[in-house]
C-alpha cells in the first residue's frame, strides 16, 4: 500500500481542500486510517474470499455531480407499486427521478448532506475509513416513535462510468423510534466501465421498532460494490433483513447486527444468484449482547458457470446473553464444475443456556425430480427452471413483499408462479 498511497493521497488532498477546516481534519483522519491499511487482501480473515488488492491500482476518480448528470437523468426508473422513490446516481441525489412523496412525509426525509461525523470505530479492512473519508450524503430516514411509515421506501442507487474509472461513496442512516415501523428497499443497479461504490448504512432501532430492510443488487460487469450495514437493536426491536444478489460484477456485503436489548430479533434472508463471471460475498455477523435474543439466518445460492458465491454467517453470543435462540441454514445449488461456493455458518458462544443451530449444504439439482417433470412432458430447460424457482421460493416468500418477490423472480428469469389462482373458494 505504501507507494500507491501517494497517488491516492495526492488525489485526496486535491479534493479535500475545498472543504472547511473542521471537515478537512475529519476527512483527513479517515483517509489516514485508510492509507494505513489500504485495501484488504487475502491476509485479512473477513476478506478471505474477496481480494481487493487490485483496486488500489484501478485509477479511480471521484465521481462528481457532473458525471451523474443529464445523460442518464432521462432513464426512467420504475417504482414498485405504492413506494416512495429516491434515486441516487453515482452518489448524487436525482430529485427529478425521485418521487415527491419521498420528501413530503413527516417521517420521511432524504438529505444530500449526511456528514461523516462517526469516527468509525468499526473497521472493515479499511473500507469503512475510505468510505468515511470521501462520503457524500445519502439517505437519512427517521421514523418517530409510535409511527408507521405511510409508504415503503425504494432507494435506487445507480453507478455508472465511461472509460474513466469512477468511484463514489455514500453513508446512509435509518433511525426508528420506539415501536416505529418501516420498510426500505435499497436497490443497486449500474452499467458501464470500471466503478467502485461503497455504502455504509447505519441502522438504529429503538425498543420495539420494526424495520424491514431489503437489498437487491443487480449490478453488472465493471462494478465493485461494497456495502456494510451496521445495526443496533434495542429491547424487542426486530430487524428483517434481506439481501438478494443477481447479475454481474463483484459484490461484497457485510452486515453487522448487534442485539443490544433483550428480546431483540434478527431475521436475515439471503439469495445469491451470480451471473457467469460474477463474484458475490456475503457476511452476516450478529452479536447477541443481551438475553432472549433471536437470530435466524436463511441463505441460499444458485451458482452456475464461472460464478463464485460466498456466504459466511457468524453468530456471537456474549457472556450473559442467556436464552439466545439462533439458527443458521445455508443451502447452495452448484450447477457447474466451474462454479465455486463457500458457505460457512460460524458460532462463537460465551453463554451456557442457549440454543444455536446451524447447517450448510451444497448440492446439485435433484435428478429424480427433474426426470419426473420430464416424464410429464415438461421440456428439460423448463423443468430445470421450475426446480430452481422452487429452491429460491423459500427465501423469496420470507420477504413478505409480493411486488418485490415478483421483481426478483423476473430478474432471475424464473417462470411465473401459477399460484395466484384462487384456491380458497373451493366448495
Amino acid at each position: 500500500m505504501s507507494e500507491l498511497a501517494s497517488t491516492w493521497a495526492d488525489r485526496f488532498e486535491q479534493w479535500v481542500s475545498s472543504h472547511d477546516a473542521a471537515e478537512q481534519a475529519r476527512r483527513r483522519r479517515q483517509f489516514q486510517r485508510f492509507a494505513a491499511t489500504g485495501f484488504p487482501g487475502p491476509a485479512d480473515e473477513a476478506w478471505h474470499y474477496t481480494d481487493l488488492a487490485a483496486q488500489a491500482d484501478a485509477g479511480y476518480q471521484l465521481a462528481g455531480a457532473d458525471v451523474a448528470g443529464a445523460e442518464e437523468a432521462s432513464t426512467p426508473i420504475a417504482a414498485l407499486p405504492g413506494c416512495a422513490l429516491l434515486v441516487y446516481r453515482n452518489g448524487v441525489l436525482d430529485r427529478a427521478a425521485s418521487s415527491a412523496a419521498a420528501f413530503d412525509g413527516p417521517a420521511l426525509a432524504a438529505s444530500a448532506a449526511a456528514g461523516s461525523d462517526d469516527d468509525g470505530t468499526q473497521d472493515d479492512g479499511g473500507i469503512d475509513a475510505l468510505n468515511a473519508a470521501y462520503a457524500s450524503g445519502g439517505l437519512v430516514y427517521t421514523v418517530a416513535a409510535g409511527q408507521r411509515a405511510a409508504q415503503q421506501l425504494q432507494v435506487v442507487l445507480q453507478s455508472q462510468a465511461g472509460d474513466t474509472p469512477l468511484m463514489s461513496h455514500q453513508r446512509h442512516r435509518i433511525v426508528l423510534g420506539a415501536q416505529a415501523e418501516a420498510t426500505v428497499l435499497l436497490q443497486f443497479v449500474g452499467h458501464g466501465g470500471p466503478r467502485l461504490t461503497t455504502h455504509v448504512i447505519e441502522v438504529t432501532l429503538a425498543a420495539g421498532a420494526r424495520l424491514h430492510l431489503h437489498r437487491l443488487s443487480s449490478e453488472t460487469t465493471g462494478a465493485t460494490l461494497l456495502t456494510r450495514l451496521d445495526a443496533r437493536l434495542d429491547r424487542d426491536a426486530q430487524l428483517h433483513l434481506s439481501g438478494v444478489a443477481v447479475g454481474g460484477g463483484l459484490g461484497r456485503h457485510r452486515a453487522d447486527v448487534r442485539l443490544d436489548g433483550s428480546g431483540a430479533e434478527l431475521h436475515a434472508t439471503s439469495l445469491q444468484v451470480p451471473a457467469s463471471g460474477a463474484h458475490v460475498d456475503d457476511l452476516v455477523r450478529v452479536v447477541h449482547a443481551a438475553p432472549h435474543g433471536t437470530s435466524r439466518i436463511v441463505a441460499r445460492g444458485i451458482v452456475d458457470a464461472h460464478a463464485k458465491a460466498i456466504f459466511n454467517g457468524r453468530v456471537v453470543v456474549r457472556p450473559g446473553a442467556q436464552k439466545t435462540d439462533s439458527e443458521q441454514r445455508l443451502a447452495n445449488l452448484l450447477l457447474s464444475r466451474k462454479a465455486e461456493v463457500n458457505a460457512k455458518p460460524d458460532l462463537e458462544i460465551h453463554a451456557d443456556d442457549v440454543k444455536c443451530a446451524h447447517g450448510a449444504t451444497v448440492g446439485q439439482l435433484d435428478a429424480v425430480a427433474l426426470a419426473y417433470l420430464r416424464s410429464r412432458g415438461i421440456p428439460q430447460a423448463e423443468a430445470r427452471a421450475l426446480l430452481l424457482r422452487a429452491f429460491a421460493t423459500e427465501t423469496l416468500e420470507r420477504l413478505g413483499w409480493p411486488a418485490l418477490q415478483a421483481l426478483i423472480a423476473e430478474r432471475l428469469g424464473l417462470p411465473a408462479d401459477e399460484l395466484d389462482l384462487a384456491f380458497g373458494d373451493a366448495e
Partner: protein
C-alpha cells in the same frame, strides 16, 4: 399402438430384459405380472424413457414411430403416461404448476396457444374430485407431505388431466387399501376407450378384479414366458410364481 420386438435392456451392467416381445392394439388392457426382479419396472421405465436404462437390442414402435429415439418429455407429449411406483415429492413446485406446464407443453407441440388459466383450474378441480383429492392440495408442492395412497391418487389425477393414449401403471396398486384401490381403479376405467390402451404392471391379482384386462402376460427372467386371458391371473393367484422358477 405399441410394438415391442426382441427388447434387450440393462441397468448399469446388469441385463434385465432379454428379448421381450409385446404388441398392444388400441383399446386393449394388458396386465403384466411376474415375480419380483423379473423386469416389470424396467419395462415400464424403458417405455417412458427414463435415464439410466440402456437398450442394447430390439425396438419399440409407438404408432409406427421409433420410440427409443425420442426424449422422455416428447414421449409424454405424444401420449405416453407412466404412473410411478414411487412418485417423488417436489417441494416448491405446486401440483397445479406441474399440470399447467405439462398441458401447455403438449399444446405448444401442437402449435396451440396456452390454456386459459380459469377454465383449466375448473377442469382440474373436477378431475381432483373424481380421485377424492381436496382441491386445496393442488396448491401444495407435488406430492409434498402426501400419504402413500394420496401419491398414487395424485398419479391418477395427473393421468386424468393429461389424457394419455397409452397408460402404463407401474405397481400403482401396491400399498393401497381397498377404498384407495377402488378410487384408483375408477380413474383408470374412466379413461378406457377404443383409442386408449393400458398396461397394468402388477404383482397382485387384486387390481384385476377392478380393472378387467383383455390380456395377461407373465414376465419372468427378462421375457414374457406366458400370455393368456384374465383366467391366467386367477391361475397365478392360486399357484403363485414358484412354478415359473421350476419351469
Amino acid at each position: 399402438m405399441l410394438d415391442i420386438t426382441n427388447l434387450h435392456a440393462r441397468v448399469e451392467e446388469k441385463e434385465i430384459l432379454k428379448g421381450l416381445n409385446l404388441s398392444i392394439r388400441p383399446g386393449e388392457v394388458h396386465a403384466i405380472m411376474g415375480p419380483n426382479g423379473a423386469g416389470k419396472s424396467t419395462l415400464s421405465n424403458v417405455i417412458a424413457g427414463r435415464e439410466g436404462y440402456q437398450v442394447t437390442d430390439g425396438s419399440i414402435l409407438f404408432n409406427g414411430r421409433d420410440l427409443l429415439a425420442l426424449d422422455p418429455e416428447v414421449r409424454a407429449c405424444e401420449g405416453i403416461f407412466l404412473g410411478f411406483q414411487y412418485p417423488v415429492e417436489i417441494p416448491g413446485v405446486s401440483n397445479m404448476t406441474l399440470l399447467k406446464a405439462a398441458v401447455n407443453a403438449r399444446r405448444k407441440l401442437k402449435g396451440e396457444s396456452e390454456i386459459a388459466p380459469n377454465d383449466f383450474l375448473a377442469w382440474v378441480r373436477e378431475q381432483a374430485k373424481k380421485v377424492k383429492i381436496d382441491p386445496k392440495m393442488l396448491s401444495r408442492g407435488v406430492n409434498e407431505g402426501f400419504s402413500g395412497g394420496e401419491k398414487k391418487r395424485n398419479e391418477i389425477l395427473q393421468m386424468l388431466v393429461l389424457q394419455p393414449t397409452l397408460m402404463i401403471l407401474d405397481e400403482t396398486d401396491s400399498g393401497l387399501d381397498i377404498d384407495a384401490l377402488k378410487i384408483v381403479s375408477d380413474g383408470i376405467n374412466a379413461l378406457r376407450s377404443p383409442e386408449r390402451s393400458t398396461v397394468l404392471v402388477t404383482h397382485y391379482q387384486r387390481l384385476l378384479d377392478y380393472v378387467q384386462p383383455d390380456f395377461v402376460h407373465v414376465l419372468a427372467r427378462g421375457r414374457i414366458v406366458r400370455s393368456g386371458g384374465p383366467e391366467l391371473a386367477k391361475e397365478l393367484e392360486e399357484k403363485g410364481y414358484g412354478w415359473l422358477e421350476a419351469a
